[in-house]
């Protein structure tokens, strides 16, 4: 879903979320309405100010009349829509998704520079992941520390592609992209060159700030020291859209 283009004349619709009535602009998505009204829905790939990919499926909700679960980030509101955001079934699905993320790569929170400031860690706590029920893959992934200011640790990457989108849509450099398929999928810089050799990277650091985990971090940080500031994104996105 591309970045929304603000429209001046949009209708207002009413919908029911978890039994409560809400009104919203018809060009809004369910997750936007939930965020505005402080209805907690977990999300990972979605980020205010970036285009929507609907990849992580953590924000799935139940919509009356729909046979399957829908991603709240990729579903626009409709008049009379009835949405459930926190049923037992949804909790089960979300917990399983988070467990799969932990099982897929090596998220060792205790030694991670993002420990205590990590969205995946918060999600695990929110979704009640006190242990992982499936076997860990324990596959080794590389660490690219060739950039003077930043480092990418693919062991901590959840493939949310926020870095890819912010680099393309906000910075305009499109240094980041995705390579490979399945479990071999990984984010790459400049057609899989070492980050330090990238000619397109402007070293702006936006990718580092939007990364939800300890995959993209600043050099020189020790355990727990990587605190990310994402407030810039919605401001920049708004200014871009007004140009």
């Amino acid at each position: 879903m591309p970045l929304p283009v603000p429209q001046t004349n949009v209708r207002v619709v009413t919908l029911k979320v978890d039994g409560q009535d809400y009104s919203a602009r018809e060009d809004e998505t369910i997750i936007e309405v939930c965020r505005e009204n402080k209805i907690p829905i977990p999300s990972l790939c979605w980020m205010d100010g970036l285009s929507v990919v609907g990849a992580c499926r953590l924000c799935v909700v139940e919509i009356a009349g729909s046979p399957r679960l829908q991603a709240a980030c990729a579903t626009r509101v409709r008049e009379g829509m009835v949405v459930q955001t926190n049923t037992d079934k949804l909790q089960r699905y979300r917990r399983t998704i988070v467990e799969l993320l932990f099982a897929e790569r090596n998220h060792i929170c205790s030694v991670c520079v993002s420990n205590g400031h990590c969205e995946l860690q918060w999600l695990a706590q929110t979704c009640g992941v006190d242990h992982v029920r499936m076997p860990y893959r324990n596959a080794g992934y590389s660490v690219d520390s060739s950039h003077e200011m930043f480092r990418v640790d693919h062991n901590r990457c959840v493939l949310c592609t926020r870095c890819v989108r912010v680099c393309d849509e906000i910075e305009g450099a499109h240094t980041w992209d995705v390579m490979g398929r399945g479990s071999g999928c990984q984010v790459v810089t400049d057609l899989a060159k070492p980050w330090g050799d990238s000619e397109s990277c402007t070293s702006c650091g936006k990718c580092v700030q939007v990364c939800p985990t300890g995959a993209l971090v600043k050099q020189g940080t020790s355990v727990g020291e990587m605190v990310k500031d994402q407030t810039f994104l919605s401001i920049l996105a708004r200014r871009r859209s007004h140009r």
Partner: protein, 476 residues
């Protein structure tokens, strides 16, 4: 018919181990071995990680003494950065290390060893634990728990967590000390000093009862290795390596820690996952040496704090000749002296006005390809040695843990104790407890994980030459 006695697991130590005693047909102990039965692989799986992760990664080797690993690892990283850390950061690190020494020594003495010392080697194993001590001498047990709590609270006050704090970072520490925290720590220390002095005085009255143990619990001629300060005083954080021989002659002195590979070699035996470090110039196994509180006090010219110096002088009267104290049994005594030293030193450091200075971190990137960090952990000299590539990723790691240094000495000690106390014709539980107890003198940190004492069963199986179990003694 020769038989083997296996003590597994060894209880009231930190980690998992097994002791086997090989008995001859006559019932005499032919051989004794101390086996570390677990493998962890830190040196291998750290490869490829950014060096700044190493302090947190290697601290996970231990839940009792993570601060020691944190400190040695950060010192190795300081070396990689090629920086001198701010003086206040050095003092703050020193305080955390002393607090760690305090809590770990308290754990070893009160929780793990006092049941033997207070209740006796032959007492009922079901009672021979900290709960038995609580019943026999509630105040002693309470003091031990309180002393450990004070050490842990100081670590938490400084680092935010009792276990695995991340406050110490390459280049210094990541947050300066506030006056409130300083005052809170200072307020606890007089009580700690009173407990430490009372316990020391009490233990002095016990020592004469253990003359027999003192002469058989690892009483041997070995070298002693430790750090000493530039003026030859007791040192746990920085300083230089010193080695003394059994006669008290200084064999190596003022050796920069970075030169440890010149002094220390590591041998491997097929019966244990723990390596066998030795003093290179004497070769293996002749280069046997001991580390830890006993070695530190034997090597130091003085402690440098008032009560600890008095205690050090009394420590040197434990044996008649003037050389280093030879019995590993006196590790317990040395531990109590170091507890007093730690408390007095923390008081001195915390009272210095400069302790509140806000310049506590030197920032740099990897400026060297190889870094070595050495500190004194509660159990002895701890060495971290890393190599990194141009991107700052680890390519090689060598860790020499304090308990490893004592491996040769521990093996020799159990043989000595088994020779003195174990009668193969009628094996009693109390005999085997003495074999375990000599290991407890060294306070080994084997898996670097803490276990609840008294809950691990000990099983002794006596097998005949055909491997059939002819007798089984179980407890727990």
């Amino acid at each position: 018919m020769s038989r083997t006695i296996s003590i597994e697991p060894v209880t009231r130590i930190e980690g998992h181990a097994r002791i086997t005693l090989q008995l001859a047909d006559t019932g005499e102990v032919e051989d004794a071995k101390f086996h570390l039965t677990q493998f962890r692989g830190f040196e291998k799986f750290c490869e490829g990680r950014p060096y700044r992760e190493m302090p947190a990664l290697t601290a996970r080797t231990c839940g009792i003494c993570p601060v020691s690993h944190l400190l040695a690892s950060n010192k190795a990283c300081d070396d990689l950065l090629a920086v001198t850390i701010p003086p206040t950061a050095e003092k703050l690190r020193r305080i955390m290390n002393l607090a760690q020494l305090l809590q770990s020594h308290a754990l070893s003495f009160f929780h793990l060893s006092s049941p033997d010392l207070l209740l006796g080697w032959d007492s009922d194993p079901a009672q021979r634990n900290i709960f038995g001590v609580m019943r026999a001498d509630p105040q002693l047990a309470k003091n031990g728990i309180r002393l450990r709590q004070i050490g842990q609270t100081i670590i938490e006050t400084l680092g935010g967590k009792k276990i695995h704090p991340t406050w110490v970072v390459p280049g210094g520490v990541n947050e300066p000390l506030t006056a409130e925290k300083r005052d809170a720590m200072l307020a606890m220390l007089p009580e700690a000093l009173t407990i430490a002095k009372d316990t020391y005085a009490f233990y002095k009255t016990l020592v004469p009862k253990f003359q027999d143990e003192a002469s058989h619990f690892g009483t041997m001629k070995t070298l002693f290795l430790s750090l000493v300060s530039p003026d030859g005083h007791l040192e746990h954080c920085n300083g230089y390596l010193r080695i003394k021989d059994a006669e008290g002659r200084i064999v190596e002195d003022m050796v920069p820690p970075g030169e440890y590979p010149r002094l220390i070699g590591e041998a491997v035996e097929d019966f244990s996952y723990m390596k066998f470090p030795y003093y290179k110039p004497l070769g293996y196994p002749k280069g046997i040496y001991r580390v830890g509180p006993l070695a530190r006090l034997n090597n130091a010219d003085a402690c440098g704090t008032p009560y600890a110096d008095v205690a050090l002088a009394e420590f040197h009267t434990l044996q008649e000749d003037s050389g280093p104290i030879a019995s590993s049994f006196h590790y317990h005594y040395a531990r109590l002296v170091e507890i007093i030293y730690a408390i007095e030193s923390m008081q001195r450091l915390l009272k210095a006005p400069s302790i509140l200075d806000t310049r506590v971190r030197a920032r740099a990137r990897g400026n060297k390809s190889e870094g070595i960090g050495v500190s004194e952990a509660p159990r002895g000299t701890l060495m971290h040695h890393y190599k990194i590539d141009d991107e700052g990723l680890i390519t090689w790691v060598n860790l020499i843990i304090a308990t490893g240094h004592n491996n040769l000495a521990m093996n020799r000690s159990i043989k000595q104790v088994a020779d003195a106390y174990v009668d193969g014709t009628d094996v009693k539980e109390g005999m085997l407890n003495r074999v375990e107890a000599v290991i407890r003198c060294y306070d080994p940190c084997l898996s670097c994980a803490s276990h609840a004492f008294g809950q691990m069963p000990m099983v002794v199986e006596i097998a005949n030459a055909a491997g059939e179990v002819v007798r089984r003694i179980a407890r727990g």
